[in-house]
Assembly symmetry: C2
Homo-oligomer: 321 residues x 2
Protein backbone atom coordinates (compact mmCIF):
# COMPACT_ATOMS: atom_id res chain seq x y z
CA UNK A 1 0.00 0.00 0.00
CA UNK A 2 1.21 3.44 -0.89
CA UNK A 3 0.80 6.57 1.21
CA UNK A 4 -1.00 9.54 -0.37
CA UNK A 5 2.28 11.46 -0.57
CA UNK A 6 3.83 8.72 -2.74
CA UNK A 7 0.72 8.51 -4.87
CA UNK A 8 0.71 12.24 -5.41
CA UNK A 9 4.10 11.88 -7.12
CA UNK A 10 2.54 9.67 -9.80
CA UNK A 11 -0.06 12.36 -10.48
CA UNK A 12 2.34 15.28 -10.54
CA UNK A 13 4.67 13.34 -12.82
CA UNK A 14 1.82 12.48 -15.19
CA UNK A 15 0.69 16.10 -15.28
CA UNK A 16 4.24 17.18 -16.04
CA UNK A 17 4.57 14.57 -18.79
CA UNK A 18 1.32 15.54 -20.50
CA UNK A 19 1.86 17.90 -23.40
CA UNK A 20 -0.72 19.67 -25.50
CA UNK A 21 -0.52 20.80 -29.12
CA UNK A 22 1.25 24.14 -29.52
CA UNK A 23 -1.27 25.43 -32.04
CA UNK A 24 -3.59 27.27 -31.58
CA UNK A 25 -1.61 28.43 -28.56
CA UNK A 26 -4.39 30.34 -26.87
CA UNK A 27 -6.61 27.25 -26.96
CA UNK A 28 -4.10 25.02 -25.16
CA UNK A 29 -2.22 27.46 -22.90
CA UNK A 30 -5.20 27.74 -20.51
CA UNK A 31 -5.12 23.95 -20.06
CA UNK A 32 -1.47 23.88 -18.98
CA UNK A 33 -2.17 26.97 -16.89
CA UNK A 34 -5.06 25.59 -14.86
CA UNK A 35 -3.52 22.12 -14.55
CA UNK A 36 -0.42 23.85 -13.19
CA UNK A 37 -2.25 25.87 -10.54
CA UNK A 38 -1.88 22.98 -8.16
CA UNK A 39 -4.45 22.04 -5.57
CA UNK A 40 -4.68 18.93 -3.43
CA UNK A 41 -5.21 16.58 -6.45
CA UNK A 42 -7.66 14.86 -4.14
CA UNK A 43 -9.70 13.10 -6.83
CA UNK A 44 -6.84 11.47 -8.74
CA UNK A 45 -5.14 10.57 -5.44
CA UNK A 46 -8.34 8.87 -4.26
CA UNK A 47 -8.54 7.08 -7.60
CA UNK A 48 -5.03 5.69 -7.33
CA UNK A 49 -5.57 4.77 -3.67
CA UNK A 50 -8.66 2.84 -4.71
CA UNK A 51 -6.67 1.02 -7.41
CA UNK A 52 -4.00 0.32 -4.78
CA UNK A 53 -6.62 -1.01 -2.37
CA UNK A 54 -7.61 -3.63 -4.93
CA UNK A 55 -4.03 -4.54 -5.71
CA UNK A 56 -3.99 -2.78 -9.07
CA UNK A 57 -0.90 -1.47 -10.79
CA UNK A 58 -0.66 2.25 -10.03
CA UNK A 59 0.90 3.18 -13.36
CA UNK A 60 -1.96 1.43 -15.18
CA UNK A 61 -4.41 3.58 -13.23
CA UNK A 62 -2.75 6.88 -14.14
CA UNK A 63 -4.72 7.45 -17.39
CA UNK A 64 -8.00 7.24 -15.47
CA UNK A 65 -6.59 9.55 -12.78
CA UNK A 66 -5.57 12.05 -15.46
CA UNK A 67 -9.04 11.82 -17.03
CA UNK A 68 -10.63 12.68 -13.68
CA UNK A 69 -8.22 15.52 -12.83
CA UNK A 70 -8.48 16.99 -16.36
CA UNK A 71 -12.27 16.79 -16.27
CA UNK A 72 -12.34 18.41 -12.81
CA UNK A 73 -10.16 21.29 -13.96
CA UNK A 74 -12.32 21.74 -17.07
CA UNK A 75 -15.35 22.18 -14.81
CA UNK A 76 -13.43 24.80 -12.82
CA UNK A 77 -12.85 26.85 -15.99
CA UNK A 78 -16.53 26.80 -16.92
CA UNK A 79 -17.78 27.24 -13.33
CA UNK A 80 -15.57 30.31 -12.95
CA UNK A 81 -17.14 31.84 -16.06
CA UNK A 82 -20.63 31.17 -14.71
CA UNK A 83 -19.72 32.59 -11.28
CA UNK A 84 -17.84 35.59 -12.73
CA UNK A 85 -14.97 34.57 -10.44
CA UNK A 86 -11.82 36.69 -10.78
CA UNK A 87 -9.52 34.30 -8.91
CA UNK A 88 -8.87 30.56 -8.74
CA UNK A 89 -6.32 29.27 -6.25
CA UNK A 90 -5.19 32.86 -5.78
CA UNK A 91 -4.43 33.35 -9.50
CA UNK A 92 -6.38 34.95 -12.34
CA UNK A 93 -9.14 32.72 -13.68
CA UNK A 94 -8.86 31.56 -17.29
CA UNK A 95 -11.66 33.83 -18.53
CA UNK A 96 -10.02 36.84 -16.82
CA UNK A 97 -6.70 36.04 -18.44
CA UNK A 98 -7.77 34.92 -21.93
CA UNK A 99 -11.31 36.20 -22.30
CA UNK A 100 -14.66 34.49 -21.98
CA UNK A 101 -14.86 32.90 -25.42
CA UNK A 102 -11.45 31.30 -25.23
CA UNK A 103 -12.31 30.06 -21.73
CA UNK A 104 -15.46 28.37 -23.04
CA UNK A 105 -13.58 26.75 -25.89
CA UNK A 106 -10.48 25.78 -23.90
CA UNK A 107 -12.82 24.11 -21.45
CA UNK A 108 -14.49 22.23 -24.29
CA UNK A 109 -11.23 20.95 -25.72
CA UNK A 110 -10.08 20.10 -22.20
CA UNK A 111 -13.07 17.80 -21.88
CA UNK A 112 -11.91 16.15 -25.10
CA UNK A 113 -8.46 15.76 -23.51
CA UNK A 114 -10.11 14.11 -20.50
CA UNK A 115 -11.97 11.77 -22.85
CA UNK A 116 -8.69 10.92 -24.56
CA UNK A 117 -7.09 10.04 -21.24
CA UNK A 118 -9.87 7.63 -20.31
CA UNK A 119 -9.53 5.75 -23.62
CA UNK A 120 -5.98 4.80 -22.56
CA UNK A 121 -7.14 2.40 -19.83
CA UNK A 122 -6.71 -1.36 -20.35
CA UNK A 123 -9.04 -2.28 -23.22
CA UNK A 124 -10.52 -5.11 -21.14
CA UNK A 125 -12.10 -2.52 -18.83
CA UNK A 126 -12.61 0.26 -21.38
CA UNK A 127 -16.40 -0.02 -21.58
CA UNK A 128 -17.14 0.00 -17.83
CA UNK A 129 -14.53 2.75 -17.35
CA UNK A 130 -16.24 4.89 -19.99
CA UNK A 131 -19.67 4.24 -18.52
CA UNK A 132 -18.49 5.28 -15.07
CA UNK A 133 -16.63 8.30 -16.39
CA UNK A 134 -19.60 9.54 -18.42
CA UNK A 135 -22.10 8.99 -15.60
CA UNK A 136 -19.78 10.93 -13.31
CA UNK A 137 -19.39 13.81 -15.76
CA UNK A 138 -23.14 13.97 -16.24
CA UNK A 139 -23.76 14.10 -12.49
CA UNK A 140 -21.30 16.95 -12.03
CA UNK A 141 -23.06 19.02 -14.73
CA UNK A 142 -26.43 18.34 -13.08
CA UNK A 143 -25.04 19.42 -9.70
CA UNK A 144 -23.68 22.68 -11.10
CA UNK A 145 -27.04 23.42 -12.75
CA UNK A 146 -28.90 22.80 -9.47
CA UNK A 147 -26.41 24.98 -7.59
CA UNK A 148 -27.08 27.85 -10.01
CA UNK A 149 -30.84 27.35 -9.80
CA UNK A 150 -30.79 27.36 -5.99
CA UNK A 151 -29.38 30.91 -6.02
CA UNK A 152 -32.72 32.28 -7.19
CA UNK A 153 -34.93 29.93 -5.19
CA UNK A 154 -36.22 30.50 -1.65
CA UNK A 155 -37.71 27.09 -1.04
CA UNK A 156 -34.67 24.83 -1.26
CA UNK A 157 -35.07 21.89 1.12
CA UNK A 158 -32.20 20.27 2.98
CA UNK A 159 -32.88 17.09 1.03
CA UNK A 160 -32.46 19.02 -2.23
CA UNK A 161 -29.30 20.64 -0.93
CA UNK A 162 -27.74 17.30 -0.03
CA UNK A 163 -28.66 15.98 -3.47
CA UNK A 164 -27.06 19.03 -5.08
CA UNK A 165 -23.74 18.65 -3.23
CA UNK A 166 -23.86 14.93 -3.88
CA UNK A 167 -24.02 15.61 -7.62
CA UNK A 168 -21.73 18.62 -7.75
CA UNK A 169 -18.97 17.32 -5.50
CA UNK A 170 -19.44 13.81 -4.18
CA UNK A 171 -20.25 11.95 -7.41
CA UNK A 172 -16.81 12.91 -8.73
CA UNK A 173 -15.07 11.49 -5.64
CA UNK A 174 -17.17 8.33 -5.82
CA UNK A 175 -16.70 8.06 -9.59
CA UNK A 176 -12.94 8.51 -9.27
CA UNK A 177 -12.73 5.71 -6.70
CA UNK A 178 -14.96 3.43 -8.76
CA UNK A 179 -12.70 4.04 -11.76
CA UNK A 180 -9.71 3.12 -9.62
CA UNK A 181 -11.44 -0.15 -8.72
CA UNK A 182 -12.39 -0.85 -12.34
CA UNK A 183 -8.88 -0.36 -13.72
CA UNK A 184 -7.60 -2.59 -10.90
CA UNK A 185 -10.02 -5.29 -12.11
CA UNK A 186 -11.91 -5.31 -8.80
CA UNK A 187 -15.17 -7.26 -8.58
CA UNK A 188 -18.21 -5.09 -9.47
CA UNK A 189 -19.81 -5.28 -5.98
CA UNK A 190 -16.53 -3.97 -4.51
CA UNK A 191 -16.34 -1.24 -7.16
CA UNK A 192 -19.86 -0.19 -6.14
CA UNK A 193 -18.90 -0.20 -2.45
CA UNK A 194 -15.85 1.98 -3.01
CA UNK A 195 -18.13 4.31 -4.99
CA UNK A 196 -20.38 4.50 -1.92
CA UNK A 197 -17.36 5.20 0.25
CA UNK A 198 -16.24 8.04 -2.03
CA UNK A 199 -19.66 9.56 -2.53
CA UNK A 200 -20.54 9.62 1.17
CA UNK A 201 -17.10 10.90 2.07
CA UNK A 202 -17.59 13.63 -0.54
CA UNK A 203 -20.88 14.70 1.03
CA UNK A 204 -19.31 14.74 4.50
CA UNK A 205 -16.39 16.73 3.09
CA UNK A 206 -18.72 19.37 1.63
CA UNK A 207 -20.73 19.63 4.88
CA UNK A 208 -17.46 20.17 6.69
CA UNK A 209 -16.66 22.90 4.17
CA UNK A 210 -19.92 24.60 5.11
CA UNK A 211 -18.98 24.41 8.80
CA UNK A 212 -15.39 25.63 8.26
CA UNK A 213 -16.64 28.58 6.25
CA UNK A 214 -18.32 29.87 9.43
CA UNK A 215 -16.33 28.29 12.26
CA UNK A 216 -12.89 27.91 10.68
CA UNK A 217 -9.81 29.45 12.27
CA UNK A 218 -9.22 32.69 10.31
CA UNK A 219 -5.46 32.07 10.64
CA UNK A 220 -5.67 28.69 8.98
CA UNK A 221 -8.79 28.70 6.76
CA UNK A 222 -7.15 30.25 3.69
CA UNK A 223 -10.32 32.08 2.60
CA UNK A 224 -12.25 34.75 4.50
CA UNK A 225 -14.28 33.15 7.26
CA UNK A 226 -17.95 34.00 6.74
CA UNK A 227 -17.77 34.17 2.93
CA UNK A 228 -20.90 32.05 2.59
CA UNK A 229 -22.76 34.31 5.04
CA UNK A 230 -21.81 37.46 3.14
CA UNK A 231 -23.02 36.02 -0.16
CA UNK A 232 -26.17 34.54 1.43
CA UNK A 233 -25.20 31.15 0.08
CA UNK A 234 -27.78 28.49 0.81
CA UNK A 235 -25.49 26.13 2.70
CA UNK A 236 -26.62 23.36 5.00
CA UNK A 237 -26.19 25.73 7.95
CA UNK A 238 -28.36 28.41 6.44
CA UNK A 239 -31.10 26.01 5.36
CA UNK A 240 -31.11 24.33 8.77
CA UNK A 241 -31.38 27.71 10.49
CA UNK A 242 -34.32 28.62 8.27
CA UNK A 243 -35.95 25.37 9.27
CA UNK A 244 -35.47 25.83 13.03
CA UNK A 245 -35.62 29.59 13.63
CA UNK A 246 -38.61 31.36 15.16
CA UNK A 247 -40.66 33.79 13.03
CA UNK A 248 -38.90 36.64 14.78
CA UNK A 249 -35.43 35.30 14.08
CA UNK A 250 -36.37 34.57 10.47
CA UNK A 251 -37.38 38.23 10.08
CA UNK A 252 -34.11 39.25 11.67
CA UNK A 253 -32.25 36.96 9.28
CA UNK A 254 -33.93 38.42 6.23
CA UNK A 255 -33.24 41.97 7.45
CA UNK A 256 -29.55 41.03 7.70
CA UNK A 257 -29.36 40.57 3.92
CA UNK A 258 -28.57 44.25 3.62
CA UNK A 259 -26.28 44.51 6.68
CA UNK A 260 -22.61 45.42 6.48
CA UNK A 261 -20.32 42.39 6.07
CA UNK A 262 -18.82 42.26 9.58
CA UNK A 263 -22.19 42.84 11.25
CA UNK A 264 -23.80 40.25 9.07
CA UNK A 265 -21.18 37.62 9.86
CA UNK A 266 -21.37 38.15 13.60
CA UNK A 267 -25.17 38.29 13.77
CA UNK A 268 -25.83 35.31 11.50
CA UNK A 269 -23.20 33.35 13.42
CA UNK A 270 -24.97 34.30 16.66
CA UNK A 271 -28.20 32.87 15.23
CA UNK A 272 -26.35 29.70 14.22
CA UNK A 273 -25.06 29.45 17.81
CA UNK A 274 -28.50 30.02 19.31
CA UNK A 275 -30.01 27.15 17.31
CA UNK A 276 -26.98 24.84 17.66
CA UNK A 277 -26.57 24.76 13.89
CA UNK A 278 -22.92 23.76 14.02
CA UNK A 279 -23.92 20.72 16.05
CA UNK A 280 -26.73 19.90 13.58
CA UNK A 281 -24.27 20.10 10.70
CA UNK A 282 -21.74 17.98 12.55
CA UNK A 283 -24.32 15.28 13.19
CA UNK A 284 -25.20 15.27 9.50
CA UNK A 285 -21.54 15.15 8.53
CA UNK A 286 -20.95 12.22 10.88
CA UNK A 287 -23.95 10.43 9.40
CA UNK A 288 -22.39 10.49 5.92
CA UNK A 289 -18.97 9.69 7.29
CA UNK A 290 -20.38 6.59 8.99
CA UNK A 291 -22.08 5.56 5.76
CA UNK A 292 -18.75 5.94 3.99
CA UNK A 293 -16.90 3.77 6.51
CA UNK A 294 -19.68 1.18 6.54
CA UNK A 295 -19.27 0.77 2.78
CA UNK A 296 -15.50 0.53 3.14
CA UNK A 297 -15.77 -2.13 5.81
CA UNK A 298 -17.96 -4.28 3.52
CA UNK A 299 -15.26 -4.38 0.85
CA UNK A 300 -13.75 -7.83 0.51
CA UNK A 301 -10.06 -7.06 0.91
CA UNK A 302 -7.84 -7.64 3.97
CA UNK A 303 -8.40 -4.93 6.57
CA UNK A 304 -4.76 -3.82 6.61
CA UNK A 305 -5.09 -2.79 2.94
CA UNK A 306 -7.71 -0.22 3.98
CA UNK A 307 -5.40 1.52 6.42
CA UNK A 308 -4.10 4.29 4.15
CA UNK A 309 -7.60 5.17 2.98
CA UNK A 310 -8.90 5.37 6.53
CA UNK A 311 -5.95 7.56 7.52
CA UNK A 312 -6.56 9.87 4.55
CA UNK A 313 -10.28 10.14 5.30
CA UNK A 314 -9.49 11.01 8.93
CA UNK A 315 -6.98 13.59 7.79
CA UNK A 316 -9.49 15.15 5.40
CA UNK A 317 -12.20 15.26 8.02
CA UNK A 318 -9.92 16.93 10.56
CA UNK A 319 -8.56 19.60 8.24
CA UNK A 320 -8.70 23.27 9.05
CA UNK A 321 -8.75 24.58 5.49
CA UNK B 1 -27.39 0.77 -50.99
CA UNK B 2 -29.78 3.21 -49.40
CA UNK B 3 -30.66 6.67 -50.70
CA UNK B 4 -30.02 9.63 -48.39
CA UNK B 5 -33.77 10.10 -47.90
CA UNK B 6 -34.10 6.55 -46.50
CA UNK B 7 -31.05 7.04 -44.35
CA UNK B 8 -32.40 10.27 -42.95
CA UNK B 9 -35.33 8.30 -41.53
CA UNK B 10 -32.95 6.27 -39.36
CA UNK B 11 -31.52 9.49 -37.95
CA UNK B 12 -34.83 11.21 -37.34
CA UNK B 13 -36.17 8.09 -35.67
CA UNK B 14 -33.11 7.83 -33.43
CA UNK B 15 -33.40 11.49 -32.46
CA UNK B 16 -37.07 10.95 -31.63
CA UNK B 17 -36.28 7.86 -29.57
CA UNK B 18 -33.56 9.55 -27.53
CA UNK B 19 -34.79 10.81 -24.20
CA UNK B 20 -32.96 12.87 -21.62
CA UNK B 21 -33.42 12.99 -17.85
CA UNK B 22 -36.27 15.25 -16.75
CA UNK B 23 -34.29 16.77 -13.88
CA UNK B 24 -32.85 19.39 -13.82
CA UNK B 25 -35.26 20.38 -16.57
CA UNK B 26 -33.48 23.53 -17.66
CA UNK B 27 -30.27 21.55 -18.18
CA UNK B 28 -31.84 19.04 -20.56
CA UNK B 29 -34.58 21.03 -22.29
CA UNK B 30 -32.04 22.94 -24.42
CA UNK B 31 -30.73 19.61 -25.74
CA UNK B 32 -34.12 18.44 -26.96
CA UNK B 33 -34.73 21.95 -28.27
CA UNK B 34 -31.63 22.26 -30.42
CA UNK B 35 -31.77 18.64 -31.59
CA UNK B 36 -35.34 19.34 -32.65
CA UNK B 37 -34.52 22.45 -34.69
CA UNK B 38 -33.86 20.24 -37.68
CA UNK B 39 -31.27 20.96 -40.32
CA UNK B 40 -29.99 18.73 -43.09
CA UNK B 41 -28.48 16.15 -40.67
CA UNK B 42 -25.67 16.03 -43.19
CA UNK B 43 -23.01 14.58 -40.89
CA UNK B 44 -24.97 11.61 -39.53
CA UNK B 45 -26.36 10.94 -43.02
CA UNK B 46 -22.81 10.86 -44.41
CA UNK B 47 -21.81 8.57 -41.56
CA UNK B 48 -24.57 6.06 -42.31
CA UNK B 49 -23.86 6.28 -46.04
CA UNK B 50 -20.25 5.46 -45.32
CA UNK B 51 -21.31 2.46 -43.21
CA UNK B 52 -23.63 1.44 -46.05
CA UNK B 53 -20.80 1.78 -48.58
CA UNK B 54 -18.81 -0.80 -46.65
CA UNK B 55 -21.76 -3.15 -46.25
CA UNK B 56 -22.31 -2.33 -42.59
CA UNK B 57 -25.59 -2.69 -40.77
CA UNK B 58 -27.23 0.73 -40.65
CA UNK B 59 -28.88 0.22 -37.30
CA UNK B 60 -25.51 -0.69 -35.78
CA UNK B 61 -24.11 2.59 -37.08
CA UNK B 62 -26.84 4.73 -35.52
CA UNK B 63 -25.10 5.24 -32.13
CA UNK B 64 -22.05 6.70 -33.89
CA UNK B 65 -24.33 8.87 -36.04
CA UNK B 66 -26.10 10.12 -32.92
CA UNK B 67 -22.74 10.86 -31.29
CA UNK B 68 -21.71 12.99 -34.26
CA UNK B 69 -25.03 14.84 -34.55
CA UNK B 70 -25.19 15.45 -30.79
CA UNK B 71 -21.61 16.70 -30.74
CA UNK B 72 -22.31 18.97 -33.73
CA UNK B 73 -25.34 20.49 -32.04
CA UNK B 74 -23.38 20.98 -28.82
CA UNK B 75 -20.83 23.03 -30.78
CA UNK B 76 -23.68 25.12 -32.20
CA UNK B 77 -24.84 26.03 -28.67
CA UNK B 78 -21.36 27.14 -27.61
CA UNK B 79 -20.52 28.82 -30.95
CA UNK B 80 -23.73 30.84 -30.73
CA UNK B 81 -22.70 32.10 -27.26
CA UNK B 82 -19.28 33.11 -28.59
CA UNK B 83 -20.80 34.83 -31.63
CA UNK B 84 -23.60 36.50 -29.62
CA UNK B 85 -25.97 35.04 -32.22
CA UNK B 86 -29.65 35.69 -31.54
CA UNK B 87 -30.99 33.12 -34.01
CA UNK B 88 -30.21 29.54 -35.06
CA UNK B 89 -32.20 27.99 -37.90
CA UNK B 90 -34.60 30.92 -37.58
CA UNK B 91 -35.33 30.23 -33.89
CA UNK B 92 -33.99 31.74 -30.67
CA UNK B 93 -30.55 30.46 -29.75
CA UNK B 94 -30.22 28.48 -26.52
CA UNK B 95 -28.42 31.28 -24.66
CA UNK B 96 -31.13 33.77 -25.72
CA UNK B 97 -33.84 31.46 -24.48
CA UNK B 98 -32.28 30.04 -21.29
CA UNK B 99 -29.44 32.44 -20.47
CA UNK B 100 -25.72 32.20 -21.03
CA UNK B 101 -24.78 30.08 -18.03
CA UNK B 102 -27.37 27.40 -18.73
CA UNK B 103 -26.27 27.41 -22.38
CA UNK B 104 -22.65 26.75 -21.36
CA UNK B 105 -23.67 23.95 -19.04
CA UNK B 106 -26.28 22.37 -21.34
CA UNK B 107 -23.59 22.31 -23.99
CA UNK B 108 -21.22 20.59 -21.58
CA UNK B 109 -23.70 17.90 -20.63
CA UNK B 110 -24.61 17.51 -24.31
CA UNK B 111 -20.99 16.63 -25.01
CA UNK B 112 -21.32 13.97 -22.31
CA UNK B 113 -24.44 12.70 -24.11
CA UNK B 114 -22.43 12.52 -27.33
CA UNK B 115 -19.73 10.57 -25.49
CA UNK B 116 -22.39 8.19 -24.17
CA UNK B 117 -23.69 7.56 -27.69
CA UNK B 118 -20.26 6.64 -29.00
CA UNK B 119 -19.73 4.06 -26.23
CA UNK B 120 -22.71 2.14 -27.64
CA UNK B 121 -20.87 1.03 -30.78
CA UNK B 122 -19.85 -2.63 -31.16
CA UNK B 123 -17.22 -3.24 -28.47
CA UNK B 124 -14.89 -4.78 -31.07
CA UNK B 125 -14.48 -1.32 -32.64
CA UNK B 126 -14.92 0.78 -29.51
CA UNK B 127 -11.29 1.90 -29.20
CA UNK B 128 -10.78 3.05 -32.83
CA UNK B 129 -14.25 4.64 -32.78
CA UNK B 130 -13.35 6.62 -29.63
CA UNK B 131 -9.99 7.65 -31.06
CA UNK B 132 -11.62 8.93 -34.24
CA UNK B 133 -14.41 10.65 -32.34
CA UNK B 134 -12.03 12.42 -29.95
CA UNK B 135 -9.63 13.49 -32.70
CA UNK B 136 -12.60 14.89 -34.59
CA UNK B 137 -13.93 16.78 -31.58
CA UNK B 138 -10.49 18.21 -30.89
CA UNK B 139 -10.12 19.41 -34.48
CA UNK B 140 -13.48 21.17 -34.39
CA UNK B 141 -12.50 23.06 -31.23
CA UNK B 142 -9.20 24.09 -32.81
CA UNK B 143 -11.02 25.32 -35.92
CA UNK B 144 -13.43 27.42 -33.88
CA UNK B 145 -10.53 28.96 -31.95
CA UNK B 146 -8.71 29.84 -35.19
CA UNK B 147 -11.91 31.31 -36.64
CA UNK B 148 -12.24 33.58 -33.60
CA UNK B 149 -8.59 34.58 -33.73
CA UNK B 150 -8.78 35.44 -37.42
CA UNK B 151 -11.39 38.11 -36.65
CA UNK B 152 -8.76 40.31 -35.04
CA UNK B 153 -5.90 39.48 -37.41
CA UNK B 154 -5.07 41.27 -40.65
CA UNK B 155 -2.44 38.90 -41.96
CA UNK B 156 -4.41 35.68 -42.40
CA UNK B 157 -3.03 33.73 -45.36
CA UNK B 158 -5.16 31.63 -47.68
CA UNK B 159 -3.31 28.57 -46.48
CA UNK B 160 -4.26 29.40 -42.89
CA UNK B 161 -7.86 30.00 -43.95
CA UNK B 162 -8.10 26.61 -45.65
CA UNK B 163 -6.63 24.99 -42.58
CA UNK B 164 -9.19 26.76 -40.38
CA UNK B 165 -12.20 25.62 -42.45
CA UNK B 166 -10.68 22.17 -42.65
CA UNK B 167 -10.64 21.99 -38.85
CA UNK B 168 -13.86 23.82 -38.15
CA UNK B 169 -16.04 22.13 -40.78
CA UNK B 170 -14.34 19.45 -42.82
CA UNK B 171 -12.78 17.34 -40.07
CA UNK B 172 -16.27 16.63 -38.74
CA UNK B 173 -17.49 15.40 -42.15
CA UNK B 174 -14.35 13.30 -42.58
CA UNK B 175 -14.53 12.03 -39.00
CA UNK B 176 -18.20 11.11 -39.40
CA UNK B 177 -17.45 9.09 -42.54
CA UNK B 178 -14.47 7.39 -40.96
CA UNK B 179 -16.65 6.41 -38.00
CA UNK B 180 -19.18 4.97 -40.45
CA UNK B 181 -16.39 2.88 -41.97
CA UNK B 182 -15.11 1.77 -38.57
CA UNK B 183 -18.48 0.60 -37.29
CA UNK B 184 -18.97 -1.24 -40.61
CA UNK B 185 -15.66 -3.04 -39.93
CA UNK B 186 -14.04 -1.61 -43.05
CA UNK B 187 -10.31 -2.10 -43.53
CA UNK B 188 -8.26 0.78 -42.01
CA UNK B 189 -6.86 1.99 -45.38
CA UNK B 190 -10.42 2.29 -46.67
CA UNK B 191 -11.51 4.08 -43.49
CA UNK B 192 -8.68 6.56 -44.06
CA UNK B 193 -9.71 7.04 -47.70
CA UNK B 194 -13.33 7.75 -46.81
CA UNK B 195 -12.00 10.23 -44.25
CA UNK B 196 -10.10 11.94 -47.08
CA UNK B 197 -13.26 11.95 -49.18
CA UNK B 198 -15.25 13.56 -46.38
CA UNK B 199 -12.63 16.08 -45.38
CA UNK B 200 -11.98 17.31 -48.90
CA UNK B 201 -15.68 17.39 -49.67
CA UNK B 202 -16.14 19.44 -46.49
CA UNK B 203 -13.54 21.99 -47.61
CA UNK B 204 -15.16 22.22 -51.06
CA UNK B 205 -18.54 22.61 -49.36
CA UNK B 206 -17.30 25.52 -47.25
CA UNK B 207 -15.66 27.24 -50.23
CA UNK B 208 -18.97 26.94 -52.05
CA UNK B 209 -20.62 28.53 -49.00
CA UNK B 210 -18.26 31.47 -49.37
CA UNK B 211 -19.21 31.80 -53.05
CA UNK B 212 -22.95 31.45 -52.42
CA UNK B 213 -22.83 34.11 -49.74
CA UNK B 214 -21.88 36.63 -52.45
CA UNK B 215 -23.25 35.12 -55.64
CA UNK B 216 -26.23 33.14 -54.37
CA UNK B 217 -29.72 33.75 -55.71
CA UNK B 218 -31.41 35.99 -53.10
CA UNK B 219 -34.68 34.13 -53.75
CA UNK B 220 -33.15 30.78 -52.89
CA UNK B 221 -30.20 31.43 -50.59
CA UNK B 222 -32.14 31.50 -47.32
CA UNK B 223 -29.85 34.07 -45.70
CA UNK B 224 -29.13 37.63 -46.81
CA UNK B 225 -26.75 37.58 -49.78
CA UNK B 226 -23.64 39.59 -48.89
CA UNK B 227 -23.73 38.81 -45.18
CA UNK B 228 -20.01 37.98 -45.17
CA UNK B 229 -19.22 41.26 -46.95
CA UNK B 230 -21.20 43.31 -44.42
CA UNK B 231 -19.41 41.69 -41.48
CA UNK B 232 -15.98 41.91 -43.22
CA UNK B 233 -15.60 38.19 -42.73
CA UNK B 234 -12.24 36.91 -43.93
CA UNK B 235 -13.56 34.36 -46.41
CA UNK B 236 -11.57 32.80 -49.22
CA UNK B 237 -12.97 35.47 -51.56
CA UNK B 238 -11.88 38.34 -49.37
CA UNK B 239 -8.41 36.95 -48.74
CA UNK B 240 -7.90 36.22 -52.45
CA UNK B 241 -8.97 39.76 -53.32
CA UNK B 242 -6.50 41.15 -50.81
CA UNK B 243 -3.82 39.05 -52.46
CA UNK B 244 -4.58 40.16 -56.01
CA UNK B 245 -5.86 43.72 -55.73
CA UNK B 246 -3.77 46.79 -56.64
CA UNK B 247 -2.70 49.24 -53.93
CA UNK B 248 -5.46 51.58 -55.06
CA UNK B 249 -8.14 48.92 -54.88
CA UNK B 250 -6.87 47.79 -51.48
CA UNK B 251 -7.27 51.36 -50.20
CA UNK B 252 -10.75 51.45 -51.68
CA UNK B 253 -11.53 48.14 -49.97
CA UNK B 254 -10.41 49.37 -46.58
CA UNK B 255 -12.41 52.61 -46.99
CA UNK B 256 -15.50 50.45 -47.64
CA UNK B 257 -15.36 49.08 -44.06
CA UNK B 258 -17.44 52.04 -42.95
CA UNK B 259 -19.78 52.13 -45.99
CA UNK B 260 -23.53 51.55 -45.79
CA UNK B 261 -24.52 47.89 -46.21
CA UNK B 262 -25.99 48.03 -49.73
CA UNK B 263 -23.15 50.16 -51.05
CA UNK B 264 -20.60 47.93 -49.45
CA UNK B 265 -22.09 44.77 -50.95
CA UNK B 266 -22.24 46.18 -54.46
CA UNK B 267 -18.78 47.74 -54.40
CA UNK B 268 -16.99 44.78 -52.83
CA UNK B 269 -18.77 42.49 -55.28
CA UNK B 270 -17.59 44.75 -58.14
CA UNK B 271 -14.03 44.31 -56.90
CA UNK B 272 -14.53 40.54 -56.74
CA UNK B 273 -15.76 40.67 -60.34
CA UNK B 274 -12.84 42.80 -61.51
CA UNK B 275 -10.30 40.30 -60.14
CA UNK B 276 -12.26 37.20 -61.15
CA UNK B 277 -12.46 36.11 -57.53
CA UNK B 278 -15.50 33.89 -58.07
CA UNK B 279 -13.52 31.98 -60.69
CA UNK B 280 -10.53 31.70 -58.34
CA UNK B 281 -12.77 30.32 -55.60
CA UNK B 282 -14.41 27.90 -58.02
CA UNK B 283 -11.03 26.56 -59.13
CA UNK B 284 -10.07 26.02 -55.49
CA UNK B 285 -13.39 24.35 -54.75
CA UNK B 286 -12.94 22.03 -57.74
CA UNK B 287 -9.45 21.19 -56.56
CA UNK B 288 -10.77 19.87 -53.24
CA UNK B 289 -13.70 18.19 -54.94
CA UNK B 290 -11.30 16.31 -57.20
CA UNK B 291 -9.21 15.28 -54.22
CA UNK B 292 -12.40 13.98 -52.59
CA UNK B 293 -13.39 11.93 -55.62
CA UNK B 294 -9.86 10.62 -56.10
CA UNK B 295 -9.93 9.24 -52.55
CA UNK B 296 -13.37 7.72 -53.14
CA UNK B 297 -12.22 6.04 -56.33
CA UNK B 298 -9.32 4.38 -54.50
CA UNK B 299 -11.67 2.68 -52.05
CA UNK B 300 -11.78 -1.06 -52.56
CA UNK B 301 -15.51 -1.64 -52.97
CA UNK B 302 -17.48 -2.28 -56.17
CA UNK B 303 -18.07 0.97 -58.06
CA UNK B 304 -21.86 0.64 -58.01
CA UNK B 305 -21.80 0.83 -54.22
CA UNK B 306 -20.35 4.35 -54.50
CA UNK B 307 -23.24 5.64 -56.60
CA UNK B 308 -25.38 7.11 -53.83
CA UNK B 309 -22.42 8.94 -52.31
CA UNK B 310 -21.43 10.42 -55.66
CA UNK B 311 -25.02 11.52 -56.27
CA UNK B 312 -25.18 13.14 -52.84
CA UNK B 313 -21.87 14.94 -53.31
CA UNK B 314 -23.06 16.25 -56.69
CA UNK B 315 -26.30 17.40 -55.11
CA UNK B 316 -24.45 19.17 -52.31
CA UNK B 317 -22.08 20.88 -54.69
CA UNK B 318 -24.90 22.12 -56.90
CA UNK B 319 -27.05 23.48 -54.11
CA UNK B 320 -28.32 27.04 -54.05
CA UNK B 321 -28.63 27.43 -50.29
Amino acid sequence: MHAPSEILKYIEQAIKNTTYPSHPGSLYEPISYIMGLGGKRLRPVMLLMSADLFGGDLQAAVPAAMAIETFHNFTLIHDDIMDNAPLRRGQQTVHEKWGRNTAILSGDVMMVEANKHITRVDIAVLKPALDTFNATAQGVCEGQQLDMEFESRNDVSIEEYIDMIRLKTAVLVGGAMKLGAIVAHARMPDADLIYQFGENLGIAFQLQDDILDVYGDPEKFGKRVGGDIISDKKTFLRLKLQQLASQEDLRKLSDLVRAADTDKISQVTALYDRYLIKEEATVMMQYYLHKAFAALSDIQVPEERKRELILLADLLMNRES
